[in-house]
Structures are given as structure tokens and as C-alpha cells.
């Protein structure tokens, strides 16, 4: 169920260059199940800014009724959000959308989790749920540069973890796709820049089950405004469509036109 709640800030800190980790407490955490779902955040009361901001759920702690958002300071919305402090509240609508299907990887199989930049956060909750299911996980986390790398150790605790940076200042120099060639796995789950998702689809969708989390500018976040639609792959110029906010943000590669 979708709930609207003022959640309390448990902690907020900068964990990498301009990347903030925000832990919130709220009853709506009890509704969060699928990894890869997102929440819609009203960063300030009133009209500035007016619209909510979609942010993925990076971690769910049902015991403490807490959940984690990890976001990059992009524009006014995320910058304002970053100024909020412990004990203040944040207006959250969620959980929204459909996440990654963990049931598509069987216990004992290997899942490859490929994250690019600010697409990394939802993979953390996903990885935990896969591990809990008995799935072996391998992570490839791609960043621009050393300064913006985050959560490497946390992912390492869950499984093998490769970090790449575009400029080679940390980990392996290059793109996530460069690392993949030498690995064996059964499924791919990915979130990140569209170019990365397209490369995964082109190279792997034929043989593997590949699940991709998309981004699109949103109005409502709940399926009512038709802002976030994409064409389905079987009818790429026709009338059939999927909504990123409710049918996604996670789609099977080949389901929609990237």
C-alpha cells in the first residue's frame, strides 16, 4: 500500500563527494518489500520546489522501522534535502513502483549486480535480499572518480565486489562492462545511466535474464499523469506503453524501449 507520512530523520551524512546517506524512520517502512522500489520525497513544505523527488530505497530495516536513501546533490531539491537534520521530518510518499524480482534467481545461482553512479543504492537492499535467499552475488559498481565511490565495504560484506572508475583514480579503470566479460553468472540486475543499461541489454539479454531499473522525469509517481511512459519493445512506435513509476522502475531487458 502507498502511504504518505512525515518520516523522522535518524541520521544524515555525506558518505562521498556530494553523496548523502539519509536514514529515516516511519511506519511506511513496513510496506516496503521489493528491493528497487522508490519513494517520492517532498523536500520542503510549500512551493519551492513544488514537485516531489523520486529516490530509490537503498536499505530497509524492518525491525527498527527504518529505511535508507542515498542521493546525489543534483539541483535545488536534493540540495535542500541535504540541509535537513536529525529529528526533523521529511514528507515521504511510498513505497512506489515494482522492484527487482529476486525470485528469478534460484538459491545457489549467481546474480550479477551492476550499478552505475547514483544507480548503486537500490542494489544494496537487493543484494541483501538475494543473499538471504541463498543466492551468490557479484557486484560491479561503476563510478566517475574516486571521490564519489561509496558503500564498497558494505557490498564486499555481501559478495565479491569490483569497483571501477572512469578516470582510473580508484579500482579498475574503465566501465562496468569491461569487468563483466570474465565473470560467470545466471542473472543480471542493474541500475544506472541509460548507456550502461543499453550495453547490458545489447550484450546479455539474449542469453541471460537481465533486469534493468529505469529513470524518467516524473509528475505523480503513482501512475496517474502519464509523464513517465515508455514504449513497449514489441510495439516501439505504437500505442502500447509502460509507466516507469508503477510498471517499473524495474523492467526485464527487452520489455520496453530504452
Amino acid at each position: 500500500m502507498i502511504v504518505n507520512e512525515n518520516c523522522t530523520i535518524v541520521s544524515q551524512k555525506e558518505i562521498a563527494g556530494n553523496i548523502h546517506e539519509l536514514i529515516l524512520r516511519g511506519e511506511l517502512s513496513t510496506e516496503m518489500q521489493e528491493p528497487g522500489q522508490f519513494v517520492h520525497v517532498k523536500v520542503a513544505d510549500g512551493h519551492d520546489p513544488l514537485l516531489r523527488r523520486p529516490i530509490s530505497i537503498a536499505n530497509i530495516n524492518h525491525e527498527k522501522k527504518e529505511f535508507t536513501l542515498i542521493y546525489r546533490l543534483e539541483g535545488r531539491g536534493t540540495t535542500l534535502l541535504s540541509t535537513k537534520k536529525e529529528y526533523e521530518t521529511v514528507d515521504i510518499l511510498g513505497p512506489l513502483g515494482h522492484g527487482f524480482p529476486i525470485e528469478e534467481t534460484n538459491p545457489g545461482e549467481t546474480a550479477l549486480l551492476v550499478g552505475g553512479g547514483i544507480g548503486v543504492p537500490p542494489l544494496y537492499e537487493l543484494s541483501q535480499q538475494l543473499v538471504a535467499r541463498g543466492v551468490k552475488v557479484i557486484h560491479i559498481l561503476g563510478f566517475q572518480t574516486k571521490e564519489v565511490v561509496f558503500y564498497e565495504e558494505k557490498f564486499m560484506e555481501l559478495g565479491e565486489t569490483f569497483v571501477t572508475t572512469v578516470d582510473g583514480t580508484y579500482g579498475i579503470k574503465g566501465f562496468v562492462t569491461d569487468v563483466m566479460k570474465d565473470l560467470s553468472f545466471d542473472t543480471i540486475y542493474s541500475c544506472g545511466p541509460k548507456a550502461m543499461l543499453k550495453a547490458l541489454e545489447t550484450n546479455y539479454a539474449a542469453d541471460k535474464k537481465v533486469y534493468l531499473s529505469l529513470e524518467e522525469r516524473m509528475g505523480c509517481g503513482i501512475g496517474a499523469c502519464f509523464a513517465c511512459v515508455c514504449h513497449t519493445a514489441d510495439d516501439p512506435t505504437g500505442f502500447s506503453y509502460k509507466k516507469v513509476c508503477t510498471d517499473g522502475p524495474v523492467f526485464k531487458a527487452g520489455e520496453v524501449v530504452l
Partner: protein, 303 residues
């Protein structure tokens, strides 16, 4: 009778608050959040004869106290609306106002004729003001003669009263309003969005793939109030007002300007519970202001 009950041509409303067309889909998503029977009415998304995918994305962009949209009238087409969406909505005790769109007079007439026969459609809203489609749409909304003729044709075939939705992108809104009144409109809905644009600092391109889009939200409220104030004094048909409404206080302001009911658009995205909250808050505000019934507020600024 409740403080909020209102009768308008074709419409018996429990309260004068309804979601605006295009901001509520066909109700399914909000139906998961609250009981749609609590609403005064529902203005469903624009329906065209054929299904439409609409414009490429990005389709929305934020602006100061507002947003631009260029959805482009995406909808599943008349058949599906008649066979799936309206029957689904029939489970609720709420009148439907069907937003009718098209590229030619014939399109409008066909949609109007058929959709007006649906049992829960109690009124039509002729969308002659959509800024986001290349043909039709806005042309019908900016030339008085064209608007009048279209209204006439639709009136001839419609089984239910016809409201015409006016575009604010005109020099003389009163002239447009009078033209559609002459054409036989039973009511007006206003305003649709203002035509706007945003550019991306880095690329220099428009943020919307469609380049221009319709500006909605609190930013446009003063324009809406002004237009309703002007029009309501010059026509004798009722006005359903919209443009930036978020709170019960805004509803009163629209009534003062001359509206007899209101629709809530963009605010549904900011707070999906906006409509029921407004409906809940209205009686108390009326009480505070000393009104026995909301209809006493209509036109108070000029009466």
C-alpha cells in the same frame, strides 16, 4: 442539505471539488488511496477516437511554483474508455465529466456522441485548449468562431450537458467565453495551462522533448482568478474553476472570483490526498467566514 452540495447543469455534486482532467488518469491509482465516492465529480483524462501515445519524454519539467507538461493527450482511445475505464468507475457513486479531445470537428463529435451515452458520464468537458497537440486542440480554443461552431456541433449530439474548457492563451478570454456560450455551452471550465518552456543550462535544449508545454500549478493561480473574475460577470453559465488550487482557502478564492465548482490538477501530484483534504477542510472554513453554504461565495468579489 450539506454546506457543500451543489447543482450544476447535469451534475448533482456532493461537494464542488473534483480532480482536473489529466491529473487523475481514470481514477484507478487514486482509487487505491481513498474512496472516490468522496469526490464531487471526476474529470477523466482526455479521450480521443483512436488511442494516442502522446509526446516523447521528458514530458514534464518543474518551474517556480509550477510545472510544465506535454503529455500530448495520451489515452487508450474511445473504445477502451467506454468498455473498461468508465465501467470500472461505475462502482463509485460519483458523476464523471468526460474530457473530449480531437484534431478535427468530426473527432470531437464522434467522441462526444458516444461517450455521452455512458451511464456515469453526466457531463462533457470539451477540451478546446490543449497546448500540447500540433493539430486541432489549441486552434479551437483561440478563435471564437471556431470554438462556437464546435460547441454547437457537439451540443447537437451530446446526451449530457457540455462544458467548454477555455485556454488562457488568448488576448480576450471574455470573447471566447461568450462565443461558446452562444454556441450553446452549458458551462465553462477554466483555465487550462499557459504555454511555457524551459531550457536546460548544459545542453541549451528544451527540457521537454515536445519543446513547449502547459504551465500549471500555484504559479498560474492569479491568471486563473483574473480570467474567472472577468468571464463570470459576462456570461450566465456556471464556471468550474481551476489553476493552482491546493487548499480549501484557494477554493474560496475561486468561488469569490465567480466559480461555482472547482477542479484540482497539479496538487494531486504533490499530495495525492489533496482532494479529500480540501473537501474535509471546506466546511470549517465556511463556518469561520460565516457562510451557510458555499454557493454564497460565488462571485462575491464583484457582487
Amino acid at each position: 442539505m450539506s454546506r457543500l452540495e451543489i447543482d450544476l447543469p447535469g451534475l448533482h455534486l456532493k461537494n464542488p471539488v473534483m480532480p482536473a482532467s489529466g491529473c487523475f488518469g481514470f481514477g484507478r491509482e487514486f482509487g487505491n488511496l481513498y474512496n472516490l465516492s468522496d469526490l464531487g465529480a471526476i474529470m477523466i483524462k482526455a479521450t480521443t477516437v483512436e488511442p494516442r501515445f502522446g509526446n516523447p519524454t521528458p514530458r514534464v519539467a518543474e518551474t517556480s511554483a509550477g510545472m510544465l507538461n506535454a503529455i500530448g493527450l495520451q489515452n487508450p482511445g474511445l473504445e477502451k474508455v467506454l468498455n473498461e475505464e468508465l465501467p470500472w468507475l461505475a462502482q463509485y457513486d460519483v458523476p464523471i465529466i468526460a474530457n473530449v479531445a480531437g484534431s478535427t470537428e468530426e473527432d470531437y463529435v464522434e467522441v462526444a456522441k458516444r461517450i455521452s451515452t455512458a451511464p456515469n458520464v453526466h457531463a462533457l468537458e470539451l477540451n478546446i485548449s490543449c497546448p500540447n497537440v500540433k493539430t486541432g486542440g489549441i486552434a479551437f480554443g483561440t478563435i471564437p468562431e471556431v470554438a462556437k461552431s464546435l460547441t454547437k456541433k457537439v451540443k447537437e449530439v451530446s446526451e449530457v450537458p457540455v462544458y467548454v474548457k477555455l485556454s488562457p492563451n488568448v488576448t480576450n478570454i471574455v470573447e471566447m467565453a461568450k462565443a461558446v456560450e452562444d454556441g450553446g455551452a452549458d458551462g465553462l471550465t477554466m483555465i487550462n495551462t499557459l504555454l511555457g518552456m524551459r531550457l536546460d543550462l548544459k545542453s541549451g535544449n528544451t527540457i521537454l522533448a515536445n519543446k513547449t508545454g502547459g504551465l500549471s500549478g500555484p504559479a498560474i493561480k492569479p491568471v486563473a482568478i483574473r480570467m474567472i473574475y472577468e468571464v463570470s460577470q459576462q456570461v450566465s453559465i456556471p464556471i468550474i474553476g481551476m489553476g493552482g488550487i491546493e487548499r480549501a482557502e484557494d477554493v474560496i478564492e475561486f468561488f469569490y472570483a465567480g466559480a461555482s465548482a472547482v477542479a484540482v490538477g497539479t496538487a494531486n501530484f504533490v499530495d495525492p490526498f489533496a482532494c479529500p483534504k480540501i473537501i474535509k477542510d471546506l466546511p470549517e472554513i465556511l463556518e469561520q467566514l460565516g457562510f451557510d453554504h458555499i454557493s454564497e461565495c460565488t462571485g462575491r468579489s464583484w457582487k
